[in-house]
């Protein structure tokens, strides 16, 4: 779970590109970027229209047709309970993406606000926020997520709340660092000089500039959240069954690795590609918005 | 046969602004035991020239011409053969001993590893020779220094260590690239005298690279002046100081502050800046700054021609 912890904790896995970017590598990164974007578009559309497609329900159990191979009726076959694998993949995308996007929005909203206020007003408020961030980051995120869901009870809204809360410290750090580096700049001083209010400076001057790094971090946050949701669901502590989440499908597929490895590999591939795509896009955006590697 | 001879050496560096010709057709010969000073402003290509001799150019650099060392072209040598040459045949002292000594290895390690890489000596003997070398370059309490790290020494002491390392395998050619530029003025003369003394004692050839004509005065047999990647004048040291022919050399000599001039005298400078090395110019590179320049100067490049007794210069209108 290195990716999850490193990303949540240090903000970003920033590694300077020490070698000169030749035109060739740049163009390659460009194509990959568009492929990643296309994949995410595909997954989003598939998840959105899943219930409009003429495919079987993802939860209809058919104990007679268990682990069937691909057929006209079941395009990718059926799982250990005879449920349609393709349909579960699509509906799984709905839950994995839904949780993956909604939870970081919570982190973005609260963490972004806290971080900007802390970076702008400084003083005791900043000390308090930074201290709070340190405390939450003192808990291994996965362990904290497990403990809280154990108390709250398993449900999708609870999962979103918990994962969203866990993202707040990281977003706070990013927003604070960006605000700190922007506040001494001329355009902020100029706005102050013409008597702009704090609210105006924060919203009109700083927010548009902080938004880009936050957006890049949001995409990396989506990747991390999909992984954490997958891990929790895989262990049976996330999305409650029978809802199809990729994590649950992988967990169930693990039981039949010897007879039907595809049942675990298909959702695994879907999750890997989606996480990779979000990481790629987020990393490209981050490189665009902040050429300095050590900015966080 | 000369120890080192450069034949039409060119070094090109690709940059975002185009090709940069750092060394532009240098011919040079150095006999065994001889010392040569190479003088020029920063950016004139003298460091690239020294790196080309040492085969330590950046990977992207393109080299033309030949670097003949004891009759073989070392730019064509296989890495392993080159490695055996470095140390016992060719050695170098870099500008800043703070950055040229490894900060995380002890002085002793850095000295002993060089000895063991080239000489058939066991660890004990290598340490003994290391101590001897440190003593020879004037480092007090050499036994204790062996266990210390570079940051525990003063700048002058560090450069003495670097010199000890360079001398350790008795090289036939020592290249000293601005060896005193990073040091306090008070120790500069000591280091230069140490270099001069050791080269004479060990009968080594030395190329002393500097931007300061004062450094080479009295310490080298010959001086070559570099400008914009080319050698523009070359002469026995005494002859060059007494009768410079190329206007650039003359200007350099005039720019040395004189102790006996009156207080508040304006320091003489050379007007203008060196040309942009990414742009080729047809004529003499110094012409735009030269007060003797005439029309023909910007049309064709003057070649390096001999006048008398080893004094060469490249100028259409010599003094």
């Amino acid at each position: 779970m290195a990716v999850l912890d490193a990303t949540l904790d240090t903000g970003l896995i920033a590694v300077p590109a020490a070698e000169p970017a030749t035109s060739r590598t740049r163009r390659r990164a460009g194509t990959l970027f568009w492929i990643a974007l296309a994949w995410i578009g595909l997954v989003v559309v598939a998840a959105a229209v899943a219930n409009l497609l003429p495919i079987p329900s993802p939860t209809d159990i058919d104990m007679l047709g268990r682990r069937a191979g691909p057929s006209g009726e079941h395009w990718l076959g059926t799982d250990g309970l005879g449920r349609d694998e393709f349909s579960r993949l699509l509906f799984g995308a709905r839950i994995s993406l839904g949780v993956g996007v909604l939870a970081p929005i919570i982190g973005l909203a609260f963490g972004g606000t806290l971080g900007m206020l802390a970076g702008y007003f400084r003083g005791r408020f900043e000390t308090l926020v930074a201290g709070g961030v340190d405390v939450v980051l003192a808990f291994p995120p996965l362990v904290l997520a497990m403990a809280v869901t154990a108390y709250l009870g398993q449900s999708i809204p609870n999962l979103i709340l918990v994962l969203g809360f866990l993202g707040i410290p990281a977003f706070t750090r990013v927003a604070r660092a960006a605000t700190l580096s922007l506040t001494p700049r001329e355009f902020v001083t100029a706005a102050r000089a013409i008597g702009a209010s704090h609210a105006r400076i924060l919203l009109r001057e700083l927010l548009p500039n902080v938004a880009l790094p936050l957006m890049a971090f949001f995409l990396l946050g989506v990747a991390v959240t999909i992984v954490v949701e997958g891990a929790l669901s895989f262990l049976g502590l996330g999305v409650p069954p029978p809802a199809p989440s990729w994590g649950i499908m992988i967990g169930e597929g693990r039981e039949s690795l010897d007879v039907a490895p595809m049942l675990a590999f298909l959702p695994a591939i879907a999750m890997f590609l989606t996480v990779l795509a979000f990481n790629l896009i987020g990393d490209t955006l981050r490189a665009l918005t902040d050429p300095r590697p050590g900015a966080l | 046969m000369s120890l080192l001879s450069l034949e039409g050496l060119t070094v090109d560096l690709p940059t975002p602004r185009g090709n940069l010709r750092a060394v532009d057709g240098v011919d040079l010969a150095l006999a065994a035991g001889q010392t040569l000073g190479i003088v020029g402003e920063s950016g004139c290509g003298k460091t690239m020239l020294s790196r080309a001799i040492l085969q330590l150019l950046p990977k992207r650099a393109r080299v033309g011409g030949r670097v003949m060392f004891e009759g073989q072209d070392i730019s064509k040598l296989r890495p392993d053969a080159l490695r055996r040459l470095r140390g016992p045949a060719l050695a170098v002292v870099f500008q800043d001993p703070m950055t040229s000594l490894n900060p995380v290895l002890t002085i002793g390690t850095q000295l002993v590893e060089t000895l063991q890489a080239h000489l058939a000596v066991d660890g004990r003997e290598a340490v003994r020779r290391g101590v001897e070398l440190l003593a020879a370059v004037g480092i007090p309490a050499p036994e204790q220094r062996m266990g210390q790290y570079p940051h525990q020494l003063s700048g002058g002491m560090r450069q003495r260590v670097a010199i000890a390392i360079a001398l350790s395998c008795e090289p036939r050619l020592l290249i000293a690239d601005e060896p005193t530029t990073a040091l306090d003025v008070t120790v500069q003369a000591q280091i230069l005298d140490l270099l001069a003394r050791e080269t004479r004692r060990r009968h080594m050839a030395m190329i002393l690279i500097t931007h300061d004509l004062g450094v080479v005065a009295g310490r080298t047999d010959e001086v070559a002046v570099m400008y914009a990647g080319r050698i523009v004048e070359r002469a026995p040291t005494r002859a060059l100081f007494h009768g410079p022919r190329m206007p650039y050399t003359e200007a350099l000599l005039a720019a040395i502050p004189k102790l006996d001039s009156a207080p508040h005298t304006r320091l003489p400078t050379i007007e203008g800046r060196p040309p942009d090395p990414t742009r080729r110019m047809p004529g003499c590179a110094f012409a735009p700054r030269c007060r003797y320049a005439e029309g023909d100067c910007v049309v064709g490049k003057p070649g390096l021609g001999p006048v008398d007794a080893g004094h060469e210069f490249a100028c259409w209108h010599p003094r």
């Binding site: 070698e19 690795l257 990481n279 | 470095r86 870099f94 000594l101 490894n102």
Partner: protein, 316 residues
């Protein structure tokens, strides 16, 4: 150094206090009454009220926190109402397994990461470098439970080389013990090496530009010595830190991996506590893990300061 150390130690106290407060808050403020959990089917209003009184759950929350903190400071983290085991025994029993897993995983990660980083740095921008950097980036998108499944499928199901699950204590049979640890440790290492490799690679590229590397070449040293001694040593400061921090961070991955490979470590203890709603164990383990995490980060901070005097002076 002593002043620096004591200042940093003092700064640790509020963080640890806040960690205990947050742990307690999660356990006490979130819905899910302990008394109901303990009693299960026999939960009648009278029984619940009596038990709540016995357990002190009817006391004011601040008082309960102070009581709990007092017990914790005395080393009493409570006792499982399911197994009767104290939290401390349960943890000390499981800790060595998790530690072994994390250390072996980090070691494998270094074993893979260091040579790749060096080879990449030597020809930065070359084909091998681009391929490995891309691979490392992709590997960062592979969650540990995915690599676990892939490795089980390959080495246990298809090749039958290694056991998919099972744990043998080291003292009983060291070979079997290591065989059992190989797949889970390798799983974690697959997520670790890209992080370590990227850190070392970029430091190494910077180091290779240094004058002392040119000097080492000019001395005629063998390329292997230049890379492994002259370049690796000064490049490894960040690597040491990241390695230290990551050993602690692996606890998150260890939870998943232990559960998949049935290793009786802290992670399994935690997950079992969640499955059986053994809230005392859960609270105790979370507190200990978070405290360990904080102390580990502190230790790494100290180690970094010890390695680099500039940091010691800059911060002090």
């Amino acid at each position: 150094m002593a002043g620096f150390l004591s200042r940093r130690l003092l700064g640790l106290l509020p963080v640890l206090l806040a960690v205990s407060l947050l742990t307690f808050a999660i356990a006490s403020l979130l819905p899910g009454d302990l008394a109901y959990v303990v009693l299960g089917d026999q939960a009648t209003p009278e029984n619940v009220a009596a038990l709540r009184h016995d357990m002190g759950l009817d006391q004011p929350i601040a008082w309960r926190y102070l009581l709990w903190l007092g017990h914790v400071l005395e080393g009493d983290l409570g006792r499982s109402f399911r197994t009767g085991q104290t939290v401390l025994t349960a943890v000390t029993e499981r800790l060595p397994v998790s530690l072994q897993l994390m250390v072996v995983a980090e070691a494998i990660g270094l074993l893979i990461g260091i040579p790749i980083a060096i080879l990449c740095a030597v020809r930065a921008g070359g084909a091998f470098d681009r391929f490995m950097t891309g691979t490392a980036f992709s590997m960062l998108s592979v969650p540990s439970f995915l690599s676990a499944i892939l490795l089980i499928y390959l080495f246990a199901v298809e090749l039958h080389w290694l056991p998919a699950t099972g744990y043998t204590p080291f003292l009983e049979d060291p070979i079997d013990n290591l065989r059992g640890f190989l797949l889970p440790a390798f799983t974690l290492a697959l997520g670790e090496w890209p992080v370590l490799m990227r850190v070392l690679r970029s430091d190494m590229i910077a180091t290779l530009q240094e004058d002392y590397i040119a000097m080492a070449k000019a001395k005629g040293l063998r390329p292997a010595r230049i890379l492994w001694v002259h370049a690796l040593k000064p490049s490894s400061l960040t690597l040491v830190t990241v390695t230290g921090i990551n050993i602690g961070r692996l606890i998150g991955g260890a939870v998943i991996v232990e559960s998949i490979f049935a290793l009786p470590g802290l992670g399994r203890l935690l997950i079992n506590a969640i499955y059986t709603r053994d809230l005392i164990i859960l609270q105790g383990v979370v507190l200990l893990v978070a405290t360990g995490f904080v102390l580990m980060n502190f230790l790494v901070d100290m180690m970094y300061a010890a390695l680099d005097p500039r940091i010691r002076h800059g911060r002090a």
